[in-house]
């Protein structure tokens, strides 16, 4: 089994050329929506150099990093800060930062380890949870899971703070196996019961996590047939030792980055999983192999994902080079079903088709209108297409190139052009932008 056989690297050729559409696909999947210049640069550079740049250790611009850190101070984001402010904090990072791939992967892990402020109720613990994700998002999965086991937010979320010797709480052990590392069918109830004993002895006292050795179960536990006085790290080690773990993560990454419609082939899963294991669960190695592949740029993956609300909204704002406040945008995203730091349950967001129904589709259209109309009281004229286009003589071409890389039916483009001709100035351009963002094609990533 050759990684190259199923994850052959994409090198543009005349049979499979590098196009604007593919550039757009790459930038959308590895971020939240490109600007015109980012598209142009990606088109000029080609796929692999662009991916080099995306994976490189680029730091957030100093201004953005400073602003984000300031907004994360305890006086700015106190313990009892509301969920919306917390969500706005992350959204602010996404809007102003320069590490789209990093934030996108943080979003993946956030969905994977879905922990919600609704139960945790402590904004600073959620902030700490995010920092853990952020530090290890592209790094060592083992370290990440170990960190999660004793992350204060996670411990409150899955009741580890209630778990003590003699009365262990199985919640974390169960989700660790079922949702975080292995998936159903790869463990038994006995494994869960025994593993739960390792996650004992922690308590929440005066808003701090405190460990009491006498409340911790130090005895021998038998998990996956292996016996010893396992602690939390050992349990994680035992989980990761099972082949099912790497495959589980590969499948989840595939769903997140590749397709809402189809699952990956068994061969692809096995080869990627093997690579992941050989690299000691290094996320960068795995993702590089997956995202640099020809398969990633193939027609079965192109436009096979529904944009999440955040991708939809941020895509519009970034595309129009707007300057929107994160707080009002976060409030609208809540209604679209995606409040950062508040997934609906430990399963995370269902995603895919569940982002769209008659109500949310309508709300998306209205949000696009609010962003571009300059008439909304929260957004005012901060995202004005007229300002962005600066007197462009062919707005339809520029906008369809920016938002859809020209990949839309001729009939649709003709209708849009007819509208633009009839309404060439001011509000007409704003409406045109709204109409383009309302196209079904624009809902797909």
């Amino acid at each position: 089994m050759n990684i190259d056989q199923h994850w052959k690297r994409y090198e543009p050729s005349s049979a499979n050329p590098w196009t604007l559409a593919k550039a757009g696909h790459l930038l959308r999947r590895t971020g939240f929506g490109p600007t015109t210049s980012e598209l142009q640069q990606a088109l000029n550079d080609g796929p692999q150099p662009t991916l080099d740049r995306l994976f490189s250790e680029a730091k957030h611009s100093t201004d953005a990093a400073q602003a984000s850190e300031y907004a994360a101070r305890e006086r700015s984001l106190p313990r009892d800060a509301g969920g919306t402010q917390l969500a706005a904090w992350w959204l602010h990072r996404i809007l102003n930062g320069s590490k789209p791939l990093h934030e996108k992967i943080c979003l993946f892990w956030h969905d994977h380890f879905a922990t919600s402020i609704v139960k945790v109720q402590q904004a600073r613990f959620m902030l700490g949870h995010y920092r853990l994700l952020s530090e290890l998002a592209l790094g060592d999965f083992r370290k990440l899971v170990n960190g999660m086991s004793f992350d204060p937010a996670m411990m409150i979320w899955l009741d580890t703070v209630e778990s003590r010797k003699g009365k262990p709480n199985e919640n974390y052990a169960r989700e660790l196996m079922e949702l975080f590392t292995l998936g159903i069918g790869n463990y038994t109830e006995a494994d869960i019961r025994e593993a739960a004993r390792a996650f004992t002895g922690y308590e929440l006292l005066n808003n701090r996590i405190v460990f009491s050795p006498r409340k911790h179960d130090d005895g021998d536990k038998t998990v996956f047939g292996s016996t010893g006085n396992w602690n939390g790290d050992d349990i994680v080690r035992l989980c990761l030792a099972k082949p099912a773990c790497a495959e589980f993560i590969v499948r989840k990454l595939y769903r997140f980055f590749f397709s809402d419609l189809a699952a990956p082939t068994d061969d692809r899963v096995r080869t990627a999983a093997a690579l992941y294991r050989e690299a000691n669960y290094d996320a960068t190695t795995l993702l590089q192999a997956m995202l640099r592949s020809e398969h990633f740029f193939s027609p079965t993956v192109y436009r096979r994902k529904v944009k999440s609300p955040i991708e939809f909204a941020v895509g519009i704002v970034r595309g129009l080079e707007g300057n929107i406040g994160a707080l009002p945008l976060a409030q609208r995203l809540e209604n679209l079903g995606q409040q950062l730091f508040a997934p609906p349950s430990v399963k995370g967001w269902d995603g895919g088709r569940s982002w769209l129904n008659a109500q949310t589709l309508l709300l998306r259209g209205n949000l696009a209108s609010a962003l571009t109309s300059t008439r909304d009281s929260a957004f005012t004229d901060r995202c004005d297409p007229v300002k962005f286009l600066k007197g462009d003589v062919s707005p339809v071409d520029s906008l369809t190139k920016l938002f859809l890389q020209d990949d839309l039916p001729e009939s649709a483009k003709d209708k849009l052009a007819a509208y633009a001709d009839a309404h060439p100035k001011g509000d007409g351009i704003r409406s045109l932008t709204h109409l383009i963002c309302s196209l079904p094609e624009f809902q797909l990533a």
């Binding site: 919600s116 609704v118 139960k119 009741d159 079922e178 949702l179 998936g183 159903i184 809402d260 419609l261 436009r303 096979r304 994902k305 529904v306 209604n335 079903g337 609906p344 349950s345 430990v346 399963k347 269902d350 895919g352 088709r353 569940s354 769209l356 129904n357 008659a358 109500q359 949310t360 589709l361 309508l362 709300l363 259209g365 209205n366 209108s369 609010a370 571009t372 109309s373 008439r375 039916p409 009939s411 649709a412 209708k415 849009l416 509208y419 009839a422 309404h423 509000d427 704003r430 409406s431 709204h434 109409l435 309302s438 196209l439 079904p440 094609e441 809902q443 797909l444």
Partner: protein, 408 residues
């Protein structure tokens, strides 16, 4: 938390795009368990009476001397009570409800509560919202039901969405008015707006070119516009068969009726009415509490009659509950303090009608509170099974026998 096991299977999403499969010519995502009893599109409308409704002055014992003793100033005179049967009657402001009762469209369950009742608004409301007594609360009973039967729900009103609806596959939208169902277009005049509207529609009808996902988006878009049209039409021409009162609850229930009639497919509607925390100056036959009951009764009556006239009578059930009742004895400020053991009220067709259960004793009180005679989870069990097509165990756990609330 047994439902988590399903999540990795391909999620069949049903917002209310699923309501019109035939119209689209393709089978959209079908309602599972469509052939199971109780899973036909029956609808539950929950009316939350926030603050702690004084059940003893709502469903009033007619010939009980103890009642008069306990409530010297706020008691309702026996002659004014609207008779339901020999022993009990409704508050005089609830004429509409009394008529519904006479027509077999109302069921009252006496003395509903739970062991060790909490007197805290928040804790007790949480308990009613999640359907269990554990400390850890993240998902509501209706949210879990929605997860099971893949139905959609609406929260109508401007308040924060209730905990009861959390936990479904999608967040239940909070709607304050029909205007939120209208697409907004930036335009200087009506002609421009309609030009844009038709452009959006025509570009949503294209060819998917083999991309099933694009096809899904296109179909969802078509459903969106169809639903929007129905609602616009309804809004224009909606003539309630019985006029809705112009109060808060009336407006919300009218909106619910319009959404139900528009066949959007949602099966749960949640509204709330505030103001029931009558610690002082509650009033008896007339006064603050009486006005609330009057608003409640007239709104619910208009709703039930309206739906009946439109042919939805049998499948819509209204459940009215409050987080607790109030003390049997009035306090020194001519009001009542937090208590327990209030009645549950259900309205609509498909009900058995009448009064269920035993009224709490007015003499054997516990620390001044009425002792509940039936656990609220038994009512939930009945609703889950017979109205939402969900196994009660999966939501509220074992050990709660469903009450006999529904006919057939």
């Amino acid at each position: 938390m047994t439902h988590r096991r399903d999540f990795l299977k391909t999620s069949t999403l049903l917002g209310f795009g699923a309501a019109v499969p035939g119209f689209l010519g393709k089978t959209a995502f079908a309602t599972p368990n469509a052939d199971k009893a109780g899973a036909k599109e029956t609808i539950l409308v929950v009316v939350q009476l926030t603050g702690g409704n004084d059940g003893l002055n709502t469903v009033i014992p007619r010939k009980d001397a103890e009642y008069v003793k306990l409530r010297p100033t706020i008691g309702v005179p026996q002659d004014d009570v609207l008779k339901l049967n020999d022993d009990y009657g409704l508050h005089p402001m609830m004429e509409g409800a009394a008529k519904l009762y006479a027509d077999g469209l109302m069921t009252i369950v006496h003395g509903v509560g739970y062991p060790n009742p909490s007197q805290s608004h928040f804790r007790s409301m949480d308990i009613w919202n999640v359907g269990h007594l554990r400390e850890s609360i993240t998902e509501g009973w209706l949210g879990q039901a929605m997860f099971q039967n893949k139905a959609g729900a609406f929260h109508l009103g401007g308040e924060t969405a209730p905990l009861a609806l959390q936990g479904g596959t999608v967040k239940a939208p909070s709607i304050a008015s029909l205007a939120e169902f209208q697409r907004k277009f930036l335009s200087g005049n009506a002609a421009d707006a309609s030009e844009q509207e038709s452009l959006v529609r025509s570009t949503s009808n294209g060819e998917a070119g083999g991309n099933d996902l694009l096809d899904f988006v296109q179909r969802t878009a078509t459903t969106t516009y169809a639903a929007g049209d129905r609602l616009k039409l309804l809004n224009k021409n909606y003539e309630a068969k019985q006029p809705y009162p112009t109060n808060g609850l009336g407006g919300k229930l009218k909106l619910a009726a319009q959404l139900i009639d528009a066949n959007l497919g949602a099966r749960i509607y949640y509204v709330s009415m505030d103001g029931f925390d009558t610690h002082a100056g509650q009033g008896g036959k007339a006064g603050a509490h009486a006005n609330l009951l009057g608003e409640f009764s007239s709104a619910v009556t208009a709703f039930v009659r309206d739906l009946e006239a439109r042919g939805h009578g049998k499948r819509v059930t209204v459940l009215a509950f409050s987080e607790f009742g109030r003390r049997a004895k009035e306090n020194g400020s001519r009001g009542t303090d937090h208590g327990s053991g209030a009645p549950l009220m259900l309205f609509g067709g498909g009900l058995k009608g009448g009064i269920v259960g035993e009224h709490p004793s007015l003499t054997k009180l516990h620390e001044g509170n009425l002792v509940h005679t039936v656990d609220f989870r038994r009512a939930y069990a009945s609703i889950l099974k017979d109205r939402l097509g969900v196994e009660p165990e999966k939501v509220i756990g074992k050990g709660h026998d469903p009450l006999p609330l529904f006919a057939g």
